[in-house]
């Protein structure tokens, strides 16, 4: 059984900005525009073909003005890093409804150089009154808050969690575009020896901070048949929203938004976790994929730690991680937010890597015999979530 919208739309264009990293020569809007241009070129379409605009670091009207178009469908859902995964879901629905034919989903963020970026929240907002006065200082101080409760409940350890950045770095070493491509191997012990940021997070538990962008072009499955690139089918999607401030998270050991989102995506796709060949689980921090592996059903509740730490030694002495190259469950194969790139709202990069893998364009990091990929991300500290299950078949 699949949902009514399963396989009704496909990704036909996908690209990043020419460069990612530190880009002091590009504004927030310039990053959006370059990503959009590159994705349309990849699709073999013109900006005049676009009639749906999905964007949140730039509002959809702001971006439409910048690109000189008048779309007939817009979406500015901005709930953090997963917004782009949610946009893909909304684009599928809008295309099925006939509200647009060619959806352009665009991310751009001057996360490092901070050129034309807005300051977060006001002192009168709920978070401004009940979080900021107590010295929260960016995502590292709020994403970290659930971790010790989770450790306490399930007996998981920091050493187990340290396997996430180590495993993800192995993929970055295979990806020439990864910011940490030349960063060398890191062990779980190296993660713990890196400077402390906000206990229980050390520097290597935290994502990179970079400038960059990316974009997707989505159209109906019917129209996708005749396009330049082999279509990547959208089998199922989900979304959810649970809270805004981390203290309001109902249970610090599980993401309600992830559960709602994941269930919808699997149900629509008619698949279960054992059908998924490749995973992109948004790693803003080392801890986030642990919760997602469990809440999406890839491992039983409380068992992400032992699963991630079940390594073996390769002939050259390096560790083979279960989620790394050669592992049983390839995850975050671009190098992730931890070692590839993280602009602030990373979800677009997770989608783009799934597309690259499903197209067979992933070079040295290509996962063999790949048919399905699942992309999942949070919005802020487990506040919202989006899921997409994609296939090249």
């Amino acid at each position: 059984m699949t949902g009514a919208l399963s396989r009704t739309a496909a990704i036909v264009g996908a690209a990043e900005t020419d460069r990612i990293g530190r880009l002091p020569d590009m504004s927030r809007m310039a990053l959006h525009a370059e990503a959009a241009r590159n994705a349309l070129e990849d699709a073999g379409l013109s900006i005049r073909d676009v009639d749906g605009v999905f964007s949140c670091v730039a509002g959809p009207n702001e971006l439409s003005e910048y690109l000189g178009i008048v779309p007939r469908y817009i979406d500015g859902t901005g709930v953090g890093g997963c917004s782009y995964i949610i946009f893909l879901r909304h684009a599928v629905a809008a295309i099925a409804a006939g509200y647009c034919d060619v959806a352009l989903i665009v991310h751009g963020e001057s996360g490092r150089s901070w050129i034309d970026m807005e300051a977060p929240g006001t002192p009168a907002s709920p978070a401004g009154q009940f979080e900021a006065p107590f010295g929260t200082a960016g995502a590292a101080t709020t994403y970290s808050l659930p971790v010790l409760r989770y450790f306490h409940e399930y007996g998981a350890t920091k050493r187990q969690m340290s396997h996430v950045p180590a495993s993800t770095r192995e993929w970055a070493l295979l990806n020439p575009r990864a910011i940490m491509h030349d960063g060398g191997h890191i062990t779980p012990q190296d993660v713990e020896a890196s400077p402390i940021i906000c206990y229980p997070f050390n520097r290597l538990d935290c994502c990179l901070v970079a400038d960059g962008g990316g974009a997707l072009v989505v159209t109906s499955a019917e129209r996708a048949r005749d396009m330049r690139r082999k279509p990547i089918h959208v089998l199922g999607t989900g979304e959810g929203a649970a809270h805004r401030q981390v203290a309001m998270m109902r249970d610090f050991t599980t993401s309600d938004a992830t559960i709602v989102s994941g269930r919808a995506a699997f149900a629509e796709a008619g698949l279960s976790p054992s059908d998924i060949d490749h995973l992109m689980l948004y790693d803003a921090f080392s801890f986030t994929p642990m919760l997602f592996l469990e809440d999406l059903g890839f491992v039983p509740k409380g068992e992400a730690g032992p699963f991630l730490a079940d390594t073996r030694k390769a002939a050259d002495g390096n560790l083979i991680y279960p989620t790394g190259p050669g592992g049983v469950l390839p995850m975050n194969t671009n190098g992730g937010g931890l070692s590839y790139c993280h602009t602030g709202r990373y979800g677009m990069f997770a989608l783009l890597e799934a597309v690259a893998q499903l197209r067979g364009d992933a070079g040295a990091r290509q996962v063999a015999n790949l048919t399905t990929s699942l992309v999942h991300g949070p919005g802020r500290q487990f506040a919202a979530a989006g899921t997409a299950i994609l296939s090249n078949d």
Partner: protein
């Protein structure tokens, strides 16, 4: 000439009360922790809203809370927010005895460490008069 030494201006983030939160901050100024309670479903909530998040009733009343809670989870931050001069400092989520959770600072006798901060430990509220108009409710471990 006044003998009082001028207190250096507080540089940390300050809350800007809104109509639904003003009574909470007024009470904090008087060193009292209050919570909004629903007269219809009988449950308290936090942070203060204009209606009850459990049943959407607008019939709310402020009641004094015990000021007691337990440590649901915490972090020890080494990269301070603006105005936080003593590093590291602990940010915790407190499970109040009345039920709701509140993010705050956990202030220990010495530097906060995983040894003196224990999940589920008992905490008591106190008030930090950071400016003439704002007092922040913070928590310290109950002396054992």
């Amino acid at each position: 000439m006044s003998m009082e030494s001028a207190k250096p201006a507080y540089r940390g983030a300050l809350p800007k009360p809104t109509p639904e939160t003003q009574p909470f901050w007024d009470a904090a100024k008087a060193h009292t922790l209050v919570l909004p309670w629903c007269r219809d479903c009988g449950r308290p909530h936090f942070y203060p809203r204009s209606l009850c998040p459990h049943c959407l009733s607008r019939s709310l009343e402020w009641r004094q809370a015990s000021g007691k809670g337990t440590l649901y989870s915490y972090v020890i931050n080494h990269k301070p927010a603006k105005g936080f001069d003593t590093v590291p400092y602990a940010i915790g989520v407190v499970a109040l005895a009345e039920g709701p959770r509140m993010l705050s600072n956990i202030v220990t006798a010495g530097e906060p460490t995983p040894d003196n901060l224990r999940i589920d430990m008992n905490l008591d509220v106190f008030f930090d008069d950071v400016t003439d108009t704002i007092s922040l409710p913070k928590f310290r471990p109950v002396a054992s």
